[in-house]
């Protein structure tokens, strides 16, 4: 019989795991909810995503408890779950949807269908317009816009969360912004009146 001094790496008291989990996740829970809402645009998907996220964080506790700041780890998990949800939605919609010719409205495939009537009523016109525009982005683009432009994470931080090279992220940011501008901003003047951009200013 061999005696080994510790079994602790294989043994976890459920009670301890639970209280540690609550203590460490609680301070981030509200911001994670906000991010999830900005990604999905509606309450029911947000709640699904958050429940799924907490479950994953609980199961993967050993991967992040030692981190000084686990927030990026949380955001990466949220991002991955959101990508899954987005792809699943698109597949489902693709399978059921015979009106492919209306596909220039991809937001119908994403979250707009999930918005409850109450939420829709409460949204202002501007809010509706914004949600529709965001629904035109694909999941990677939207995550980038949400984290960088809405929540103020730096591009290197987002690069770490999305596991992408900074250069890729920069061109994606440019593309996403152009998409959004086209949808959100009415030209204040007919574009023909403006000077063509032949000069680039000292850059």
């Amino acid at each position: 019989m061999v005696s080994v001094t510790s079994l602790s790496s294989w043994l976890t008291p459920a009670r301890q795991r639970k209280s540690r989990f609550l203590a460490l996740v609680e301070p981030h829970s509200k911001t994670l909810y906000q991010t999830a809402y900005r990604l999905t645009g509606n309450q029911s998907d947000t709640e699904d995503l958050i429940q799924e996220l907490f479950l994953r964080l609980y199961q993967k506790q050993d991967h992040w408890v030692h981190l000084d700041n686990p927030r990026p780890w949380f955001l990466r998990s949220l991002y991955n779950l959101y990508i899954d949800l987005y792809r699943k939605r698109r597949r489902t919609a693709g399978a059921n949807d015979k009106s492919k010719q209306l596909d220039d409205l991809p937001y119908q495939l994403a979250s707009a269908a999930e918005v409850t009537p109450l939420e829709a009523t409460l949204d202002s016109d501007q809010q509706r317009l914004l949600k529709k525009a965001l629904d035109h982005l694909d999941a990677e683009e939207r995550n980038l816009i949400v984290l960088h432009l809405m929540e103020g994470y730096s591009l290197p931080e987002v690069a770490e969360i999305q596991q992408l090279p900074l250069g890729t992220l920069k061109s994606r940011l440019h593309r996403s912004k152009e998409k959004l501008k086209k949808l959100l901003l009415k030209e204040p003047f007919p574009s023909a009146e403006r000077f063509l951009k032949v000069v680039s200013y000292e850059d």
């Binding site: 080994v4 043994l11 009670r15 829970s29 809402y37 609980y58």
Partner: protein, 210 residues
């Protein structure tokens, strides 16, 4: 009009305000300010995104549910099944002075959510140890019969540990290498006179029955 003045004025506008005629005239001819104004308005739009408060109690509830592992993954059980598939099975071992007649028989190995997993030889076997109180010094013994090995303890067939146990559920996850013939895993807890043990038949590839 200077760009700096135009941009200062533009920054004071909100989304439903129009720039003054003077600024508008400048914008017509200045691409730099035009771009600045577009970026600025895009930012205003994005900042206007209103996130409603979560339903009262939702976050607490969701965190607790994750801890209780009762929550079924709403995106199609994927996370849940993945977690279960990663482990071979869950067995129950009681520790302590359980005397109530309705307490489950300590010899019973309860198999939850059996999952036929891959051909992998290494399986994580989870054993739920339910303890009647905190113990500083519980004695846990693992015996590997026939073609089983504990990863990291090659060739050792009997191992024992002294370990603290918390009251309630403790999850013991053992990485077991299952050879061609499979074998029996025996886990025993001992506290003074009180001994409980369970036996689990482990086979490669498919699950033992019952």
């Amino acid at each position: 009009m200077q760009c700096i003045d135009a941009q200062r004025q533009l920054q004071s506008l909100d989304l439903d305000q129009q720039p003054s005629a003077l600024v508008a005239e400048h914008l017509r001819h200045c691409n730099q300010c035009h771009d600045f104004y577009e970026d600025f308005r895009l930012r205003l739009h994005l900042e206007s995104f209103a996130v409603p408060e979560p339903d009262p109690g939702f976050l607490q509830q969701a965190m607790k549910q994750a801890g209780q592992r009762q929550h079924r993954a709403s995106l199609g059980h994927r996370a849940w099944t993945a977690a279960v598939a990663a482990s071979l099975l869950v067995a129950l071992l009681l520790v302590g002075r359980w005397q109530l007649p309705e307490a489950p028989s300590p010899k019973t190995a309860m198999q939850l959510q059996p999952q036929a997993t891959s051909e992998q030889q290494l399986k994580e076997v989870r054993i739920l140890i339910v303890s009647d109180q905190d113990y500083q010094d519980a004695h846990i013994q693992v015996a590997l019969h026939e073609d089983l090995q504990l990863r990291g303890y090659d060739q050792q067939k009997n191992l024992s540990w002294r370990t603290p146990l918390k009251e309630g559920q403790n999850l013991l996850t053992l990485p077991i290498q299952i050879g061609q013939k499979g074998g029996q895993l025996e886990v025993t807890s001992r506290l003074g006179m009180h001994t409980h043990s369970l036996q689990l038949p482990l086979a490669r590839g498919e699950q033992p029955s019952g």
